[in-house]
């Protein structure tokens, strides 16, 4: 399961637009060494911890 899919599982209300640069508030990035959370500025949902992501 990808990082995006794990986050979507934790927060089903999030949509793809929440992850699009410019319109979204969450930025997932992969520089060649795996997906990671580059920035998280969602107004209501808090950034999941690594443990929460690992448990999905």
């Amino acid at each position: 399961m990808t990082l995006y899919e794990k986050i979507k599982t934790l927060y089903p209300s999030l949509e793809l637009q929440d992850f699009i640069a410019g319109t979204g508030t969450i930025l997932l990035q992969n520089d060649g060494k795996g997906d990671y959370i580059k920035s998280w500025n969602h107004p209501t949902e808090t950034q999941p911890t690594q443990e929460e992501l690992d448990n999905v």
Binding site: I7, K8, A21
Partner: protein, 184 residues
């Protein structure tokens, strides 16, 4: 007033026009360029810069998972005038400070949303190409960005709305290029 070529110890070499206000550059008696109060203009030929320029393409297909911006690989070069493009890291690190026009096109192997962005030093600075559900056609993005000529580098990132791979079955379908348009 006569035209002068003036070199002193403080102002460097100066070409000073006569009262016409015009300086001409000639070749074999023919004026090829004119400098006046409006600036430099070419009477014949073309004035072209010689700053760094590159063009690269993806030669080995890259898989991209949905929802995340992936640094896009462009492993092969069409050209690289000043050896500023790094095929290993797929980044352009020019050695001349200035404003660079960059462009990239990505083609997917199947229908998916395309969302692309240029990043400087790993941080997205320009985004675009927000196409919700595109088939196998490419999406082209362009941007004008400043690079400091020593440490700044530009890369291209791709986000697909569904897990997809980049299409390299068509030669040079997905590419990345750039050139200096104005020195700093």
């Amino acid at each position: 007033m006569a035209s002068r070529i003036n070199a002193d110890s403080s102002n460097g070499l100066q070409l000073v026009s006569d009262s016409s206000g015009e300086v001409q550059i000639q070749s074999n008696g023919v004026t090829v360029a004119t400098i006046n109060s409006s600036g430099l203009s070419m009477n014949s030929g073309t004035l072209a810069g010689n700053g760094p320029a590159f063009a690269a393409y993806q030669s080995s297909s890259q898989s991209i998972n949905s929802g995340a911006y992936y640094k896009t690989n462009f492993q092969s070069e069409f050209f690289d005038t000043d050896d500023c493009y790094d095929t290993t890291n797929s980044r352009f690190l020019p050695t001349v400070a200035g404003y660079y026009y960059v462009s990239a096109t990505i083609m997917s192997t199947g229908p998916t949303g395309h969302h692309n962005a240029f990043a400087v030093n790993g941080t997205i600075v320009r985004y675009g190409g927000n196409i919700s559900n595109l088939s196998t056609y490419g999406v082209c993005n362009t941007a004008l960005i400043y690079l400091n000529g020593s440490t700044d580098y530009v890369e291209y990132y791709t986000l697909f709305s569904g897990n997809q791979t980049i299409n390299v079955s068509v030669p040079a379908a997905s590419w990345f290029c750039g050139n200096l348009v104005r020195a700093a």
